[in-house]
């Protein structure tokens, strides 16, 4: 399956879903003009990934999936879709795949850190919180 790569813009995040390495990353700023239009294809891609990759894995050991969220800002409409993406990963988890969620945040940015804590609590799944120090 081909990876999904979306270049970042002033208002939309960078997306890189890499099926070969099972690493999925969304980073940057999220305030799309058309939130549905931006995020629906991401969810569709993940659903296809489930059908074409995860469902075909007949090994005893299931996949180890890593979701890296490195957001600097997201508006409330984006948060709804981030939640939808996380629910897809929870579904993958419930089917036996290992899921690791890394929440990166600027060490001075309480807002983004607290948002991560809240989301983790909402989906009842632990995140790894990884501070980013300026210039690192």
């Amino acid at each position: 399956m081909e990876p999904l790569y979306i270049e970042p813009s002033e208002f939309t995040p960078r997306v890189f879903f890499d099926p070969e390495n099972s690493v999925f990353e969304i980073s940057g700023f999220s305030r799309p003009e058309n939130t549905v239009g931006f995020y629906k294809p991401l969810i569709k891609w993940l659903e296809d990934y489930e059908d074409n990759v995860l469902a075909k894995n007949t090994n005893f050991n299931k996949s180890n999936l890593v979701l890296n969220l490195k957001l600097t800002y997201f508006n409330s409409a984006s948060s709804k879709f981030l939640m939808d993406i996380l629910m897809v990963f929870m579904k993958f988890h419930s089917k036996g795949n290992a899921v690791e969620i890394n929440w990166y945040y600027d060490e001075d940015d309480d807002e983004i850190f607290e948002s991560g804590e809240e989301i983790s609590e909402m989906i009842n799944f632990p995140f790894n919180f990884i501070p980013i120090t300026p210039n690192s």
Binding site: N75, A77, M83, D108, E111
Partner: protein, 172 residues
Amino acid sequence: MEKGEVLINHYGPLSYEEIGFLLNKMTSLLERYNFGITIRKKVYSAMVESLENIYKHQDVIKGSNNYQPKFSLILEKDKVDLTCSNSLLKVKIGPLKERLEKVNQLDKAGLKEFYKEVILSGNVTQKGGAGLGIINIAKVTENKLEFTFDDIDEQYTYFTLRIKVSLQNQNN
């Protein structure tokens, strides 16, 4: 400071690009005043949600140039004041007022619960609104929201929302 300093004053149609322009202006102004990231993010979130609410939910009065969207950002001694207004169909007053009154009754934990309830309910409109904007403003600013509905005519009202971001008890 007796009277606040007006940092931004906008009156007129509000496009998506214009919102971006106003946000960039606010960011550079607050940086110039040396506000830390927490205050800047709070003002940023409140401003995005309020301007996007106008952009997504305003009802433009056909054939009239009056009652255009209005936005102001005023810096006061102990707070940043954001005021935004837009025309709206009167039929929308009921549900909007209900949501505003509900968030004003809730404390921090209550707002968090309400946010969770709405975000998990799965209702996103075609415009991309998830009904979370107002809850998010209240959650981020931790202040009560003030609002008025001023009569325009039989069909329309001019909705004004006033948001305060406190500067006190913030080290940065």
